[in-house]
Amino acid sequence: MTFMDEVLGCAVEAAGRVGRAALIPWGGAEACVDAYEMAIRALTDAQLNVARAVDVEPVRGVLASCAEMTRDIGATHLSSVRWILDV
């Protein structure tokens, strides 16, 4: 492991400790991350349901693309946050 890897590892560990402590009043880090994940899923599903209901192109395509972006950007957030908070 290089010096920079060690520094980065320590920084992530410290950020995780701070984050976990800060989220205790809201039920803890795991509950908060799970709630964020559920919100992303609900928002994605809602956009997809509207896209299915709207049988007009290009509106349907734009709505479906927005749903995919919501899911993928949310997934990237979640992956990073789970890494930092270790939940």
């Binding site: 992530v12 795991e30 899923r41 997809l48 896209a51 299915r52 192109e57 290009p58 349907r60 395509g61 709505l63 479906a64 693309s65 749903a67 995919e68 899911r71 993928d72 997934a75 990237t76 979640l78 992956s79 990073s80 789970r82 890494w83 270790d86 939940v87």
Partner: protein
């Protein structure tokens, strides 16, 4: 044996997913690894299709599948797989994911738990901080690989993909793999997007939520995804069995042909 193929068009109008189906019986969905098309499962399809309906597909951007953008996540790839099940009107499947496909299979089991009858996770990891990473020369090779000509890349991958016994004794089987792989066009941008999806994958803590019976299979000589990952995954999934193949590397289906039979028996035991 019945067989068929088709295309699923996603709602965005640009993402198209190619699938193939062989055999009849309980359905099993095979989810393949980095940069490979569904055709890479040919050995496993032959082994399982005598007793099961075997469904393979090309991930977005690979083979005959297309995508709107080259920004993937394992979540997106999991939803793609489920859209194929929807198209085929299949409620529940046995699910077998290999390498990157194993990460996608974890996401399917977590995001769509009612669709999974049983789960096999082959040569994969669950991501997060605890994942055991490959040595630096392996990482450097796979970053360099995307810029190499296809045939050169396929042969240069051999020391990373296969264990030492296989490289000495199974040259013909390795050559068959490479011939099949070269028959499918390699998409550099999709490969890079899949690498990013794999690096963002992080399911470790949530694996304990998987309720489907699970079999974790891994080669002890795997240099790409070290075998420590299989042990961590099997400990974290509550109903997991662990099968370590002592002489095998990453591409164990080529190196240990009997493993497909064992996996078929696992599916049969969890109908």
């Amino acid at each position: 044996m019945s067989s068929g193929s088709g295309i699923v068009n996603r709602l965005d109008g640009r993402t198209r997913l190619y699938w193939e189906s062989s055999g009849s019986g309980d359905p099993v969905l095979l989810v393949h690894g980095l940069g490979l098309s569904g055709g890479a499962w040919w050995r496993t399809v032959d082994a399982l299709a005598g007793a099961m309906r075997v469904i393979t597909f090309d991930h977005r951007g690979i083979g005959q599948s297309e995508s709107l953008t080259y920004a993937y996540t394992t979540e997106a790839m999991a939803d793609d797989a489920v859209s194929i099940l929807d198209e085929l009107a299949i409620d529940r499947v046995h699910l077998y994911g290999f390498s990157l496909g194993g990460m996608v299979a974890q996401q399917i089991a977590l995001r769509h738990p009612t669709r999974v009858q049983s789960l096999v996770l082959g040569a994969t990891h669950s991501g997060g901080r605890r994942a055991a990473f490959p040595e630096s020369d392996v990482v450097a090779f796979f970053q360099r690989r995307a810029t190499m000509p296809s045939e050169e890349a396929a042969w240069a991958s051999v020391p990373y993909n296969y264990g030492p016994r296989s490289r000495a004794e199974q040259v013909d089987r390795i050559a068959e793999d490479i011939e099949r792989r070269l028959a499918n066009p390699f998409n550099e941008r999709a490969y890079r997007a899949q690498l990013l999806a794999a690096s963002l994958h992080n399911c470790y803590r949530r694996l304990e939520r998987i309720r489907a019976p699970t079999l974790v299979v891994h080669g002890a000589r795997d240099r790409i995804i070290p075998v420590a990952n299989a042990r961590m995954t099997a400990e974290q999934v509550s109903r997991a069995q662990l099968k370590i193949l002592e002489d095998a590397g990453h591409l164990y289906p080529t190196e240990e042909p009997a493993v497909d039979e064992a996996i078929g028996e696992f599916f049969a035991a969890h109908r």
